[in-house]
């Protein structure tokens, strides 16, 4: 067991108040422990935590490029293996780096089966460059590259199912987590770093600036996503679903209404067809992962 009281993510970083990814960084380090080497991608977290010489990381940390963290981690792991070293190698990268530009390196690393844990802090858009769409952006979210407009209801495609893609690479352990459930998040990180082979964790990390809500609501937003079924916390072992957080599901409206990125679905008039499509995504999630709590009649 790692000592989860250790604070390995320092104060003084430049994230926005109530930043989901900053909270994710802190919790990831608590779960992984101090015998960990972090490999970062370019992105919000990298920039807010490491302006030279002010690093917030109290464990070894390396950043090379936007898209190559998984390959850099492969090399680190090979070097550690060669020298019988015991540090855990953990990538911590945003959803743009993971879902989009880094896919080549991630696919290669997972196919080779390096003993690494790749963690995506998923705030569902390119936040560092000003809220552009990524492959993780949900359907109908308005971003600066998929703006809602007279002819557009925002992002036209649903979120890519990356956990399934990496499970199909033969990843021994794949999990989703949320900053809204810190104990669950830390437990999953600890499990991943102690599981041999390539593991993947996707952490829902609400971004107050990018999604448009008050910084104090970050955790509430994460919980609402889970309660409506648009985000599911689950675990896959060797590709098999072993656990999913069950909920008494509520309609997606309240979650959508709470965020500026979905405001166009309600104002000036509710776009009921679009809201129904998003509800269908949540329903499909519930069906796929079996998360609905069946109440006794």
């Amino acid at each position: 067991m790692v000592d989860k009281s250790l604070e390995l993510f320092d104060c003084g970083h430049r994230a926005c108040g109530g930043c989901g990814p900053a909270l994710a960084a802190k919790l990831i380090l608590k779960g992984a422990g101090e015998d960990t080497i972090i490999v970062a991608s370019t992105g919000c977290m990298e920039v807010f935590s490491t302006p030279y010489p002010e690093t917030a990381w109290k464990v070894p940390w390396i950043h090379s490029l936007f898209e190559n963290a998984a390959a850099v981690a492969s090399g680190i792991e090979a070097s550690l293996k060669h020298n019988n070293r015991t540090e855990k190698v953990v990538c911590v990268c945003g959803d743009g780096a993971t879902f989009d530009i880094g896919m080549l390196c991630i696919s290669g690393a997972f196919e080779r089966g390096h003993d690494i844990t790749y963690i995506c802090y998923d705030n569902e858009a390119y936040m560092n460059t000003g809220i552009q769409r990524s492959g993780a952006t949900p359907y109908d979210a308005s971003t600066t590259t998929t703006p809602a407009g007279k002819l557009s209801t925002g992002n036209t495609r649903p979120k890519k199912d990356l956990p399934q893609i990496l499970a199909s690479h033969g990843a021994s352990y794949v999990a989703t987590a949320s900053v809204a459930y810190p104990m669950d998040l830390m437990k999953k990180v600890e499990k991943a770093v102690n599981t041999p082979g390539s593991c993947y964790i996707q952490i829902h990390a609400p971004c107050s600036t990018g999604w448009g809500f008050e910084g104090g609501k970050t955790i509430e937003m994460g919980k609402m996503a889970i309660e409506c079924g648009l985000w599911v916390n689950y675990e896959l072992e060797n590709g098999r679903l072993v656990k999913a957080k069950k909920v008494q599901r509520v309609p997606v409206e309240d979650y959508l209404k709470a965020q500026k990125r979905f405001r166009h679905l309600f104002k000036p008039a509710p776009l009921t067809d679009e809201i129904a499509k998003i509800q269908a995504i949540a329903d499909a999630n519930a069906e796929k992962y079996g998360i609905d709590i069946k109440l006794k009649e």
């Binding site: 993510f9 104060c11 430049r14 108040g17 930043c19 690093t55 810190p182 104090g216 970050t218």
Partner: protein
């Protein structure tokens, strides 16, 4: 000061950036209602809250005043108050 080759640095310098100056609202903790559950300590993205000798202490050098602690406090022991500067 010489720059470290390769733009590297050891930990320790981030706290030199006192983010408390960003704060508009100040978390005020009601010691009577607080049960010392530790939730605020765990979720503060600034690592600016700790429990010291049976009391929750906010490090005002770093607290950005986001209000996450107040929102998530299970006993509503934290209130956010406009800070006079």
């Amino acid at each position: 000061m010489a720059l470290r080759i390769g733009c590297c640095a050891p930990p320790g310098k981030a706290p030199g950036n006192k983010t408390g100056s960003w704060r508009i609202y100040l978390p005020v903790i009601d010691g009577e209602t607080c049960t010392l559950c530790g939730n605020c300590v765990l979720i503060c993205p600034e690592t600016a809250i700790e429990e010291v000798e049976g009391e929750i202490v906010v490090d005002l050098d770093y607290c950005k005043g986001c209000g996450l602690c107040a929102e998530e406090c299970p006993t509503e022991a934290i209130s956010m108050e406009l800070e006079e500067k």
